[in-house]
Amino acid sequence: MYGNDFPGEDPPGGLLGEVEAAEAALRAAAARDRGAAEPGGDLAAYFAEVVDADQKIEPRDWMPEAYRRTLIRQIAQHAHSEIIGMQPEGNWISRAPSLKRKAILLAKVQDEAGHGLYLYAAAETLGVSRDELVDLLLSGRQKYSSIFNYPTLSWADVGAIGWLVDGAAIVNQVPLCRCSYGPYARAMIRVCKEESFHQRQGYEILHTLAHGTPAQKAMAQDSVDRWWYPSLAMFGPPDGDSTHSAQSMAWKIKRFSNDELRQRFVDMCVGQAEALGLRIPDPELRWNDERQAYDFTEPDYDELMRVIKGNGPCNRQRMEHRRRAHSEGAWVREAAAAYAAKRAVKEKEKVAA
């Protein structure tokens, strides 16, 4: 969709290769013979065998109820995040500073709606309907990623969201391309490929700003200053406090811990920030030769908890916006259903005549 519209530098250390490797592994797993469960056999043992062999669990397979519930929760939250995540960037479509940027941003926000749709479709394979999931979001019983509760105050925030937020999302999601549940793994491969374009366009926006006028450079730095720590918090609480992790790892839904992924993200960003000519707002950031990784300051997890509980800068605004769009569209959806019902009756009469 974007073609080669923005020929700027690619961010170093891209993750597309890993997505492609996951896709190849998925194909190879599908090609390997995966014997069907014996009728009357031990279903739990069969499930464990499939997961252990890095094969995919498919919708028709038996699965533990907790596995199903965990996946529904995780995939739905992911879908909700895509839908709510359209808002902060959508905030700048009308004011995008060039027609080319407007087209790219509009297409990007549209991609996110598309991601939301195929993630809801992946969740539906687990026996829950999209309408139910949307209700859970609108009633506040299911969450979306907390990062979208921060405001986009300048055009540079569109760049920072692409570079940092989409970058963190990709680091989180690339391992999900190898998730044990087939429909989710396949959806993630497609999502990750598009997200890598998004990250690239964000990086390119910041690169242009950082090499522009002093006011543009200041705008870019201010944006990185505000988005850095919330992006680190996207990986969730530190490993010691993470409630769902151990079981998800055993089921191969999750493959790396929150802290491992956070470290990977920091290590990836340092070189990219240098290439951009922007400063990561962390005075403690330095290479640790022993660990072969960067030491860095942890995000404020109390702030993360406050935002998760509903008290971030934009929680109320994001939910109100979504609820309003849903309720103002109700008469349209009802009309479409009524029209379809009338057409069905007419078709039946035609057949009968």
Binding site: I83, M86, Q87, G90, I93, S94, R95, A96, P97, S98, L99, K100, R101, K102, A103, L106, A107, V109, Q110, A113, G114, G116, L117, W155, T208, G212, T213, A215, Q216, H321, R324, A325, E328, G329, A330, W331, V332, R333, E334, A335, A336, A338, Y339, K342
Partner: protein
């Protein structure tokens, strides 16, 4: 100034302002699928706007590119029809606007595809296919809403009534232009009356026919639309984005 420049500018402005309004639906559409569809249509309009404004800038020969034309003109210098600058209203108003716009753009771009100016012909050839989809999409919704529930019928009729007067301006005679819009009216009337009939809607009586957009005399809405669209670009004169 050449008539080809004037036409490229007028049609480019139509497409740009239509794109700006349609993009306002992003994150607000009645269904997620519709959010995607409206963004698609906005992207098509924006794509046509960029081609037409770039070409207008070249024909003018004053060094203005698509962004200079989009961001650095005031409302009195815009040449779009009034239809596209009207606020979105509810979904029925938006679909009435889209039906009228697409039923005009399909024969317009089709005729343009056969005109002697190669660049305009190329835009017409590309855009007519997109407009055909816009027309299908709008027609489908006008039928669904017109023949859906009582409420949707009432809203759809109100939308058509509100938008209908603005159709006239689209077909004002322009005899020396590569395509004279006056010649497109019969095609437009056939298309729209057939859709409205199937939608169980009434074609409004024609009384008031506002115009002025092609001369740069707009509704009060355009200046607000431009203020928002242009604010960032104008705050940083000469910057690259």
């Amino acid at each position: 100034m050449s008539v080809n420049f004037a036409l490229a500018l007028a049609l480019g402005d139509d497409a740009l302002i239509a794109a700006q309004r349609l993009a306002e639906w992003s994150t607000r559409a009645p269904e997620m699928e519709e959010d995607i569809a409206l963004s698609n249509i906005a992207l098509d309009q924006l794509g046509a706007a960029r081609l037409l404004l770039s070409y207008a800038g070249e024909l003018e020969g004053a060094g203005r590119d698509e962004d200079a034309l989009a961001y650095l003109r005031d409302d009195r210098e815009f040449r779009n029809c009034l239809l596209v600058e009207l606020p979105n209203g509810d979904f029925a108003v938006t679909m009435a606007k889209l039906l009228v716009l697409a039923a005009y753009q399909v024969p317009l771009y089709t005729a343009l595809a056969g005109c002697p100016d190669e660049r305009l012909a190329a835009v017409g050839a590309k855009a007519r296919k997109e407009s055909a989809y816009h027309l299908d999409h709008a027609a489908l919704w006008v039928k669904r809403l017109g023949d859906g529930t009582e409420e949707s019928h009432r809203r759809m009729q109100a939308g058509v009534d509100q938008i209908w007067p603005y159709a006239d301006e689209l077909f004002a005679a322009w005899p020396d232009a590569p395509v004279d819009p006056a010649t497109l009216r019969p095609d437009f009337d056939d298309t729209v009356t057939a859709v409205l009939a199937e939608a169980t809607l009434t074609v409004p009586e024609v009384g008031w026919t506002p115009a002025g957009g092609r001369d740069g005399v707009h509704t009060e809405h355009l200046s607000y639309l431009l203020a928002e669209m242009q604010v960032l670009h104008r705050a940083h004169p000469g910057a690259r984005w």
